[in-house]
Amino acid sequence: MSELAVEVRDLVKRFGDVEAVRGIDLDVPAGETFGFLGPNGAGKSTTISMLCTLLRPDGGSALVAGHDVVAERDEVRRSIGLVFQEPTLDMYLTAQQNLRFHAELYGVPKAVVPARMQLVMEMVGLWERRSSLVSTYSGGMKRRLEIARGLLHAPRVLFLDEPTVGLDPQTRASIWSYIETLKEQEDITIFLTTHYMDEAEHCDRIAIIDQGKIIALDTPEALKASVGKDRVQLQVDDADAAIEALRERFDLDATIAEGHVTVAVPAGEAFVPRLFAELGVPIRGVSVARPSLDDVFMSYTGTTIRDAEARGADPMLAMMRGRH
């Protein structure tokens, strides 16, 4: 039996009349990279704040690294590392001074501080810049430094709340490669939230959360398999004719997405030869894509993440949702 890094039972959080988290159950075994996926306002940050002892739950229980988040707050705090969405660095200190501050506050034994500091800074590629003021760092470097700082006291669980939000794609990719390295080097559980579908695929398991509830929880592969259909896109000169032909000959409902005739079928590759043989409309090109987590989110919620966020951002709709 493997140890659980996070154990959540029927966790509830209310803000006034609105139930932000509505009874979440969750088990994360030690060593796993676990992703929390959902649109903004789904309850991800609220849940992570409760796990990190920053918010008090209104119901249910949560154990992190074996400690209760309410009754054993300081023990939980010592066993976790935190990287927030917003920066929490002192810009007027050097990178090293920021880390030293953290080491002292978390009571890291003095004898291991220098070696540990070098290890975590090398891990994120900032050792050479350790003496620079943080105000001279780029956005990506600051985020990497936050990750290094979160690891300094050798936490057993590292919480990353939207670790790549607001970064350019190249920096996002580099942050992910640091996280991969980290998983190899440290004996650690990573618990992260994201609303980027492509990033969720880095996780061992994913919970999809919407409106304060977990609606699906599995490996990315299993989640995608549960959708079951590949996305086939056709480049044709006469889109209307192609859609018409698909309906008549294959009994498929095609739509136009991203400028291409798009259709979902169970086995994409096997479908392509039949398509060329039977469609009867000239085809310029075909692409087959496996279902993404976007498709997964859509199949469970009937909406895309982007539309769900637009819905969440509408105060009237949010109020109406909160009422029933």
Partner: protein, 299 residues
């Protein structure tokens, strides 16, 4: 199971990663952890103060303007009432208190900055008691303010006050105490205030009246009744008067001049001893620190 060790857990034995892994076992909390917390928060205040040279200069600017421009300008006008003592000599102890006051207030403002720039969160989620953070802040504010006070003390000969080791020691101790109280007061206000502009406006509103009421710039003799009452309620009074006593003990004054310029503090006719005055400051400091810690707990 509920240990804080970082030994590999679970079924799969984890091979030691290459490059001599640094195993860290974070010890449980306790007073040692709290002391380390106080110390590092204090150190950060010093580093940030030292890095901000402009601030060192600007917080000296206003006290010096008061001393040499206002004091110099009014000296002739006031000469009738100062019993032959230079007005600047009289104002000097008040300015010593003033330099500390401004610097300590600025230190307290760092709580608001820390909140705006997110660093407060790094401190609030740490496994140390909130009290350590408040104490570290107050001690840091006291230290940098006392340092500013030392610079102003170096100017003593310019206002006819001779250097004296005892005086420096006495004044420095009083300045530390005053600075601690003011930083605690500032932190107490800053915890509630989310925006820098609001904090600065509040300080503007409070600092000048507190300074003027304290008798930093005028003697406490022959005041109108209402002013005398307000003066006794101003915590600064109990720091300014001992500082002035420490300075005046080192210069030659006629008994008449001393009586006029340094009448001391009375409560319903009772002459309050200097030691009790210092205790009043300690009392205010303790109350303000306690309130600040209490507020910080729920921040």
């Amino acid at each position: 199971m509920a240990s804080t060790s970082t030994a590999p857990a679970g079924a799969a034995p984890v091979a030691a990663p290459p490059g001599a892994p640094v195993r860290v076992v974070v010890p449980p909390g306790g007073w040692r952890a709290d002391l380390r917390g106080i110390k590092v928060v204090w150190q950060r205040e010093l580093i940030r103060f030292w890095r901000d040279k402009l601030r060192i200069v600007t917080s000296l600017f206003q006290p010096l303007i008061f001393l040499f421009v206002l004091g110099g300008g009014l000296a002739h006008l006031a000469s009738g009432g100062t019993q032959g003592v230079d007005l600047r000599t009289f104002m000097y102890p008040g300015v010593l208190a003033m330099a500390v006051l401004f610097t300590a207030m600025f230190s307290a403002a760092s709580v608001v900055w820390d909140r705006e720039y997110g660093f407060l969160r790094e401190m609030l989620v740490a496994p140390v008691r909130r009290g350590s953070i408040v104490l570290g802040k107050c001690l840091g504010g006291a230290t940098v303010a006392a340092f500013q006070g030392l610079i102003v003390m170096a100017l003593a000969p310019l206002v006819h006050v001779p250097y004296s080791a005892v005086m420096v020691a006495e004044v420095l101790a009083l300045q530390l105490l005053l600075a601690f109280m003011i930083t605690a007061f500032g932190v107490m206000c800053a915890v509630r205030i989310k925006q820098m502009q609001a904090f600065m406006a509040l300080m503007q509103m409070l600092v000048m009246p507190l300074l003027f009421l304290s008798g930093a710039l005028f003697p406490l003799s022959g005041l109108p009744r209402w002013l005398e009452v307000l003066n006794r309620f101003d915590p600064l009074t109990y720091a300014v008067n001992p500082i002035r006593t420490a300075v005046f003990d080192r210069i030659d004054l006629t008994p008449a001049a001393r009586a006029a310029l340094l009448p001391g503090i009375t409560w319903f006719g009772w002459q309050v001893p200097i030691g009790v005055q210092a205790l009043v400051v300690v009392g205010f400091a303790l109350v303000m620190t306690t309130v600040a810690i209490w507020e910080f707990r729920s921040a």
